[in-house]
Symmetry: C2
Subunit: 156 residues, 2 copies
DNA sequence: AGAAAAAAAGACATCCATATCGAAAAGTCC
DNA sequence: GGACTTTTCGATATGGATGTCTTTTTTTCT
């Protein structure tokens, strides 16, 4: 339903929303904290930068940070950068002709389920998600502190 | 959501439910009528035979036919032969720990959508599906007659 | 018995999402 | 300016779903 790429994006942004005070966070740091392959996450973050959700800073003390306030960022915007969930995009039976008029036998049920899920993505903000106790995939927010690089404090 | 393999299976069985009077139907014939790659469909049908949904007959005048009355065949049984939709199987955020107790932020919404869809699959029979005007992926049942091999009539 | 027809079975090819690697470009700090 | 750090970019590898091809086995017809 959601590709792994979307899942990585959501978790990485939730992580950023927790730490974000306007300073830059390294790909490496996020990857270590969330147990995501670092080179792959780099591309995910880059896509999010192109999509206008993140901004990037190269060079020493660079990294990524959120552009908008996470209050203003619906999960749908994140997912849409990777998986197209637009209405009428996909027929659950894989039929080429499947619209409200020429519906496949499962069209209406499927449309209802998909709409319900899409609505949830549109109305849930990144802030709400990141406040959930299990937002990152493990119960405790403990690992965050451990993942911070030694010279990160010096810079902040 | 449904793999293409499941989609092929559903459409092929709908086709059989329409023609079924107890005689055998060729893979080739189904594949031609539904525009599915014939060798691939052969494997799909074979899996359905192992699952006890179809029975097969080798040799001349052989083919496949339904075991049960399609009235007694919920779509869920078809899908389950290929895609595991069992409850608690998959977390939409891809988290390893995600149950009713340790839920991910989208767990409940997702569970609701999935349950709703699964319920529809469990309560819809193959007969109901095949009676839908667009069951096969194209509006008219016309192509069926054309797809019948010349010497098929002789045998029937 | 022999030929033909069809499913069964397995080897192989292709495609795409995922993942990895290395080099280039850009920025920072001394 | 030069060393270093980090993103950016492109090439490449991998695994699973999908698709193709060939051989074997079983059955029927003549």
């Amino acid at each position: 339903m959601l590709s792994r790429t979307s899942q990585y994006a959501i978790r990485a942004l939730a992580y950023l929303a927790m730490r974000e005070r306007g300073h830059w966070v390294l790909t490496r740091q996020i990857a270590a904290a969330l147990d995501i392959p670092s080179p792959f996450l780099a591309k995910v973050l880059q896509t999010l930068a192109v999509a206008g959700i993140l901004e990037s800073q190269r060079g020493r003390n660079g990294g990524f940070r959120l552009v908008r306030n996470p209050d203003r960022l619906p999960l749908f915007d994140i997912v849409e950068a990777f998986d197209k969930l637009g209405p009428g995009r996909l027929c659950v039976l894989g039929q080429k002709v499947c619209s409200d008029e020429t519906a496949c036998p499962l069209h209406h049920t499927w449309k209802h389920s998909l709409n319900s899920f899409r609505h949830r993505l549109q109305t849930t903000t990144l802030t709400e998600l990141s406040q959930h106790p299990n937002a990152l995939g493990f119960p405790s927010p403990k690992p965050i502190a451990d993942a911070v690089a030694p010279d990160f404090h010096k810079a902040g």
